[in-house]
Amino acid sequence: MASGRARPRRGVIGVHVLTVEGLHHAYAPGQVVTSNISFEVKAGEFVSIVGPSGCGKTTLLKALSGLLDPTGGTIKFQGVAVHGVPDGLAMVFQEYGRSLLPWKTVNGNIDLPLRYQDLDAEERRRRIDDSLQAVGLSGFGDRYPWQLSGGMQQRVAIARALAYQPKLLLMDEPFASVDAQTRADLEDLVAQVQDRFGITIVLVTHDIDESVYLSDRVIVLSKPPSTVLAQVDIALPRPRDQIITKAMPRFVEKRSAIAELIRRPTGAGLRHP
């Protein structure tokens, strides 16, 4: 699997999982966070969203998830306009410590969203075990989140999302609160999991290296009121490796290109190859 471009995984090729058109959001009149953001995400694609701090990355992600009703524009998930959280979408938040429920065990946390799906106990059990195994936490099901390290807690949050078997996984700076080594491990875990399950992933991050390392495509946002500054195709071979991939000239080149886009004071509507 060393093909370059956004390679189709198990999803239907070319089908847009997510379509964003002219997205506009203001928290108050005159306080425009995002203005006129448009992009598409294909099935099986790994897309990262980067931009200067305060550019409304999290706002954008919340709008994509249906948690936030944007003031303008349309978002379509699997061809249907998003109003409220659609079915088939899961989220991983940055603050794993707050997103996991401390009164539930690891199993209980993963199970909770499944309880309200049409699944029997056996299927739920199987999904919990499978997802825990996928994130390397088999045997930790009876622990409480607060008994685990930060990195392990974020793995639980990822397992919870996996067990839910989403079509689209949204991740909001999921590795921003863990140490560097754990971060690298979690990045590889997500890459591996995506390869295995063929989920479409949209990742919001402020870390350019991370976005290049993980993605098929990186969407660069401008300062607020933010627009899409550029969409950068990464086209690095997979599977990627923390040392080998990051030493490739192409990696360095993409990283520099994106860093420059973000650093540049203004410049709208620019399309980068």
């Binding site: 948690l67 989220m91 938040f93 707050r98 997103s99 429920l101 969203p113 309200y116 008994q147 839910y164």
Partner: protein, 281 residues
Amino acid sequence: MNRKPTSWAHPIAYALGMVKSFATRFGLGIALVILWQFAATRVGSIFFPPPTEILHRAAELWLSGPPRRLFLGDGVFQDVLPSIARLLSGWVLAVLVGLPLGVLIGRSRMASDLLDPSLQFLRAVPGPALIPIFIILLGTESTMRVALIAFGSVWPILLNAIEGTRAVDPLQLETARAFRLPRHARLWRIVLPAARPKIFAGMRVSLALAIILMVVSELVASTNGIGYRIQNSQIMFLLTDMWCGIVLLALLGCALNWLFIKVENRALAWHRGARGRGAAS
């Protein structure tokens, strides 16, 4: 209650540790009782009988019954059990009213705006001041006393339920929404468990209040109960009987608190764990 001696290795060291921990925790109380005993025997005031005399009288009052009544004396059936029944009924009523109302106000802006000012006003009224009105409305039977206990002890539950449900981490609720948990599930699986530590704290405070209100309610127009017995004994100059009642109240308070902590520890084991072991209630 959660500090355990760590050295299991050596039985003698363990035993010594137990003795030391017991001495630290109860030494002062025991010393005071001995001092009281000594001083009371010495001075011989009828207002302050020695603890041995109080104990002796207490046994006569409450533990002199026939075996088929588990040796419980008439006093238990006349005064102690009715008091406990009122206390618990009043407190349970306070929980049943305060908890749902608090959750409603905590989660609904509308309910909060609608109810909060009136409740703040009512809360400012000291319960005992309403006894005359309660008597007019509910008579002088147990109903009035239960109502008074409930009215006076509902506030800590209500306020803590409001505060606890308001303070639920927005991210936990957002997570629940992101995973499409239905509304009722968000209430039962997120809001209520998250607010549970606060709610329990409120219930515990209100239990202590309920004991005070039980006594107060029995001081007015009553014919039985621990409060009535204490007041009656004082009027009739049965000072040892009066002291018995006071000691019994203290024991009752401790016992209820102890029981409550047992339940709370089970229900909130995760909470203490999450906050770091040893950081108890």
